[in-house]
């Protein structure tokens, strides 16, 4: 009896719920009142008279997809919404208002593909930005190929631009905007070691602690020959899964093996703060320097209770809150703080923000050139590709794409600066063209 009642109730609820489908509430949340002046992007697009609607198009839908339970995801969401808000305040894209819709990948491939599909087909997103994990990115690219949606993305595996190169017509809608290829990390890490040696630090034995994930394999492939060139011995190469916290044993192992440098290559693990704490507490006689996404977060020092002091890390995506490379970056960082109460929690924010603006720029350029439907994905791709080496888009970073749609790496484009935490602040210590600090060694070394 109970069961029959339960079933009837569920049925009723189901029917009722499906009926509700028709009037779905908007996904944009009520933005908090921002008192800052809305920063103008460079270059400023000319405001033309209201252009005619394109086949009855009422709005521009921007999708954000990422792991919303992680700072990488929320940063993407927040940044995209901020960009949309600013753009709307200036009249939107070609007179059409921008609406942001959000998808949560939950860092699971089936969730990610479901959500991507939903954003593309149900929400009819014109452009989707986001992503984080390289493995999930590959899965989403398959759906993107099906739905033909422009996807301005994150992640770092060289496999993605390789897909574009191999089957251009299928995957051309994908561009990586947030950061460089994993292989570039290897170059930056090698240059970091050169810099350390220049400063008098002995680096002969390196102990590597990296994510158990496909992206670090790409980095290692590039790094290993570079280390060999420099006569450096890799005394340890430990892979850690997501959420790993038992770094003590690894740190002691490194100490046993006489490592001068402990090099983390972490992003997915997410527990860089635990690593820093344990390193500082045990006072391991080795420098902690490498790639750790967690260390980029402006709140990292506080999170580790100061243990992050002297931690050397790569600033992915080419921006540090304390050292914005362009005027737009500086304005963005402050606007973000004003809107959300804290600085961008991860570098994915810059990618997402730039993605919205570069999309706007591409669409407007297409319109100016006389394209009949500037929002057509094939058309947008054409205009995005115009931002190539020699002609970067000046956003929060200088963004340009290679033929395979990977982000261009270089001093005048985007590269992963070597930075260090010193007494609560982040300083760039290399390259000297942007450096605003000097290397400091922990007292116990």
């Amino acid at each position: 009896m109970m069961r029959k009642v339960l079933i009837l109730v569920l049925l009723a609820v189901l029917v009722f719920g499906c009926a509700q489908e028709e009037k779905k509430p908007e996904a944009t949340p009520t933005p908090k009142p921002a008192a800052t002046e809305t920063p103008k992007p460079t270059p400023t697009p000319e405001k033309t008279a209201t252009p005619p609607p394109f086949g009855g198009k009422k709005e521009v839908v921007i999708g954000v997809i990422g792991p919303m339970a992680l700072p990488e995801g929320t940063a993407e969401k927040n940044a995209a919404m901020l960009a949309a808000k600013e753009i709307n305040a200036q009249g939107g894209i070609l007179g059409l208002k921008v609406r942001v819709v959000v998808g949560d990948t939950k860092l699971k491939p089936d969730e990610a593909t479901k959500e991507f599909r939903r954003l593309a087909t149900e929400e009819k997103a014109d452009m989707i930005t986001g992503g984080f994990s390289s493995g999930i990115m590959s899965a989403m690219m398959e759906v993107m190929a099906e739905t033909k949606t422009v996807f301005l993305a994150d992640a770092s595996s060289p496999a993605h631009p390789a897909m574009v190169a191999k089957e251009y017509d299928k995957y051309k809608y994908w561009f990586r905007i947030s950061q460089n290829n994993g292989s570039t990390f290897a170059w930056d890490l090698a240059e970091m070691i050169d810099y350390l040696r220049d400063q008098g630090v002995t680096v002969n034995k390196v102990y590597i602690i990296r994510d158990e994930h496909v992206w670090t394999d790409a980095v290692m492939k590039g790094l290993t020959p570079l280390l060999e060139e420099r006569n450096i011995e890799i005394v340890g190469d430990e892979k850690v899964p997501r959420g790993y916290t038992e770094y003590e044993q690894l740190l002691l192992d490194a100490q046993d093996k006489g490592a001068d440098l402990i090099m983390p290559i972490l992003a997915i693990a997410g527990t860089g703060d635990v690593l820093a704490k344990q390193w500082a507490e045990l006072q391991i006689p080795a420098l902690l320097a490498g790639h750790d996404l967690a260390a980029i977060d402006a709140g990292f020092y506080e999170k580790t209770g100061g243990a992050a002091n002297y931690y050397i890390f790569l600033a992915d995506g080419g921006v540090l809150v304390t050292a914005p490379p362009t005027e737009m970056a500086a304005k963005f960082v402050e606007a973000y703080k004003k809107e959300y109460g804290h600085y961008p929690e991860s570098h994915q924010a810059y990618g997402a923000y730039d993605a919205v603006y570069i999309y706007k720029m591409a669409v407007e350029a297409a319109y100016k050139a006389g394209e009949k439907n500037p929002f057509d994905p094939d058309v947008v791709v054409k205009y995005l590709e115009k931002y190539k080496p020699g002609n970067p888009a000046k956003l929060t970073r200088n963004v340009a794409f290679h033929k395979n749609h990977a982000l261009v790496w270089g001093d005048d484009y985007v590269r992963n600066w070597i930075a260090q935490w010193q007494d609560g602040k982040q300083y760039i210590i290399y390259p000297s063209t942007v450096a605003n600090g000097q290397l400091k060694l922990p007292p116990w070394i």
Partner: protein
């Protein structure tokens, strides 16, 4: 007797018509969803075979779903074997029907092996062991991540999906489901099914009238695993990606919830329950999400678990009692006095 058959027939026809015509009036994203639902239903009805009809509460059904899925996926991307099981790496990509069948066969095979070992444990302990099995296979995905792809799995490529077009994919899924359903229906309504139910109702009595209890338990387990494997393999070809979520506990709970709400041991019950639960989770609950206030720490999973808890607590006779109750009801309905 005839009346119930007639009712079921009408229901069946309505079902077929509605779902065959669905793509015509559903937006594309929903067609995709409902297609996926059919594959989920295979998982649910196959679970009913071992639990509802044979009375062995297998809490590790997802082991076979995952096995079928990974088998199919690896047959599509044999290059993943490079560096470990090299002789398999050279395999050519299998045609899709072969891949799906292989998934079922591998799952069934493991079902045989696992069944032989575990089915000799008495009810409660059996459930306990089977509850832990998925965790072992889950871990194996991470430990051998070169082959299985670890946490994020891998994709088999758009070309290897059931069909490039979403609507066509929907129909393929529908057909696979129908075939599975028909086969299972015939099995449980045959003499074999009768023996399953005998084992469920009273093992000792069954043994005494000559039913080889162990053999039929294992047979049921193998059939159940085989179809779970088919379901898993089909799912991989449907959504193109594979991940450890197909081994994981949330999927198991979803299956349990569907079958228990629907009514175990009836095949139609779990079918119905599966439709309700799957659509509710993927469709309605998801659309509810934006209207949930930001400060409330709830998402669609939370609501679903809450429902499962409520059902479990309010209908606690759960699996054993329900079955017995339903049997009593059915015996009364089918007895000569009431027609």
């Amino acid at each position: 007797m005839l009346k119930t058959d007639f009712k079921k027939l009408i229901l069946g026809i309505v079902f077929l018509v509605v779902f065959a015509a669905a793509p015509a009036f559903l937006p594309e994203a929903y067609v995709y969803l409902v297609g996926m639902m059919f594959l989920f239903l295979i998982l649910v009805i196959s679970w009913d075979v071992i639990v509802g009809y044979t009375g062995q509460v297998n809490l590790g059904h997802t082991v076979f779903v995952g096995l079928g899925a990974y088998t199919a996926a690896l047959m599509q991307v044999p290059s993943r074997f490079e560096g470990s099981v090299d002789f398999l790496a050279g395999m050519p990509q299998a045609p899709i029907p072969v891949s799906i069948l292989a998934g079922g066969i591998v799952a069934g095979f493991f079902g045989l092996a696992i069944g032989i070992i575990t089915l000799r444990l008495k009810g409660f302990y059996f459930s306990l062991v089977t509850a832990i099995l998925p965790l072992v296979f889950l871990k194996s995905v991470f430990v051998f991540s070169d082959i299985f792809g670890g946490e994020e799995g891998f994709s088999i490529g758009l070309e290897r999906s059931l069909a490039g077009d979403v609507t066509l994919r929907y129909y393929y899924a529908f057909v696979i489901f129908l075939i599975s359903f028909v086969i299972i229906y015939f099995i449980v309504n045959s003499r074999i099914g009768l023996r399953f139910r005998a084992v469920r109702d009273d093992e000792d009595l069954a043994e005494s009238i000559g039913v080889n209890v162990v053999r039929y338990k294992i047979l049921s387990f193998v059939i159940s695993s085989f179809f779970a494997g088919i379901g898993g393999a089909a799912i991989v070809h449907y959504r193109i990606t594979i991940g450890p979520d197909l081994y994981d506990i949330p999927l198991m709970l979803l299956i349990i919830l569907s079958a228990v709400i629907g009514g175990l041991g009836t095949l139609y019950g779990p079918l119905f329950g599966g439709i309700v639960i799957y659509l509710m989770k993927s469709w309605w609950l998801r659309s509810l999400l934006p209207s949930i206030p930001e400060w409330l720490p709830i998402n669609d999973d939370v609501i679903l678990y809450a429902i499962l808890i409520a059902v479990g607590v309010l209908a606690p006779e759960g699996i054993w009692g329900r079955v017995r109750e339903m049997l009593r009801e059915r015996a009364e309905a089918e007895s000569p006095q009431s027609t």
